[in-house]
């Protein structure tokens, strides 16, 4: 239906192509940031999953990441893995400030998005939309690639 409409209107088609190009860069309007290496590690059943990415502040002002949400998960939290005296656990994270030009790494054994309560089954190779939210009411939609348990 949508495809049929746009194919009849070259201008709309061009606009759609441009939108897709920008979406590929994960650079939403009003969010001076870019996200790379957005990925999720698959685990079986409905086990909590971890999401990882690199967020770069491409704007002139500090950016504060306040949280994330997704239609594919009932609950998304920001966590950090901590090691204390040979023991390891997780602590919740709330506001993460990224200075202009800086990159914030959500990476294994560190910061991660904790993704709980799948609303649909997931498999390696799937793409999952996650919305990152920033202070000031801004947000950014990012596609995360689902990788295997071994991250290969």
């Amino acid at each position: 239906m949508l495809l049929k409409d746009v194919s009849r209107k070259p201008l709309l088609w061009l606009a759609a192509a441009l939108c897709m190009a920008f979406a590929g860069l994960a650079q939403a309007a009003g969010s001076p940031a870019s996200v790379e290496h957005a990925r999720i590690r698959w685990l079986p059943g409905d086990l909590p999953l971890a999401g990882y990415f690199d967020l770069t502040n491409t704007g002139p002002r500090p950016l504060t990441l306040t949280g994330a949400s997704s239609t594919v998960f009932g609950d998304v939290m920001m966590h950090r893995t901590v090691h204390r005296g040979g023991e390891t656990g997780m602590v919740p994270v709330h506001d993460l400030q990224v200075r202009p030009g800086q990159t914030l790494h959500f990476t294994p054994d560190g910061y991660h998005l904790m993704l709980m309560g799948r609303t649909r089954t997931l498999a390696k190779g799937d793409a999952v939309p996650i919305r990152l939210t920033f202070s000031g009411g801004r947000s950014m939609d990012v596609m995360f690639a689902v990788r295997g348990a071994d991250m290969q």
Partner: protein, 203 residues
């Protein structure tokens, strides 16, 4: 080989000199060198009585003759457990066919949620060498104590979800069940593969 031949003698001398120089450069001696922490004589030998992810009763003897990596974790752990298991999986890939000489034993600190079927699906996702093991308290406490690791389960939230803290250590035992090395979540797959290869070679 004839040492009376002056050309051969020179060659041998040069080879010996090169070896000595190379040894000096690499800092290696005749001792085995390990990339991971050497825990020989510090950690107790492998000994346990647990149920595996197929419901079978297993002991350390079940895995005699194989290099065993012992790790305490839980399947609902989203980051550090799967990160560690993924690194071990990558290390096994580097070993090729020799990976079959290794078993990774994942002992759950959350036996209530980690039923044998869930443990099986979880460990299978990392490879055929991965085996989930479980037992209840107080046997679990005793096993943790034997390896001087601690764990605790957090309070359940409104949905009944809870987290756990656990050790980040991976204890590596040789084919005789003797504790030899310790890896951690930060250890590289290359370092683990290197050391396990040496253990397989009888080091």
């Amino acid at each position: 080989m004839s040492l009376r031949n002056p050309v051969a003698r020179t060659r041998i001398f040069l080879a010996a000199a090169f070896c000595a120089f190379a040894a000096l450069l690499s800092g290696c001696s005749q001792d085995k060198t390990w990339d991971l922490d050497n825990i020989t004589g510090i950690v107790s030998p492998l000994a346990f009585s647990l149920t595996d992810d197929t419901g079978r009763h297993v002991t350390a003897e079940t895995y005699r003759g194989r290099i065993v990596m012992l790790y305490f974790g839980y399947t609902h752990c989203p980051d550090v457990c799967p990160t560690t298991l993924a690194t071990l999986s990558q290390a096994l890939s580097k070993l090729g066919a020799a990976a079959d000489k290794v078993r990774i034993l994942f002992v759950t600190v959350d036996p209530q949620r980690d039923t044998p079927p869930l443990l099986k699906r979880y460990t299978e996702a990392f490879g055929p060498e991965f085996i989930g093991l479980r037992t209840d308290d107080p046997a679990l406490r005793q096993l943790a104590k034997r390896y001087r690791v601690t764990y605790s389960l957090g309070k359940p939230d409104a949905h009944g979800n809870y987290e756990a803290t656990h050790s980040s250590a991976v204890f590596i035992f040789d084919g005789k069940g003797k504790a030899r090395l310790m890896a951690e979540s930060s250890s590289s797959a290359a370092a683990i593969a290197h050391d396990v290869q040496q253990l397989i070679g009888g080091a």
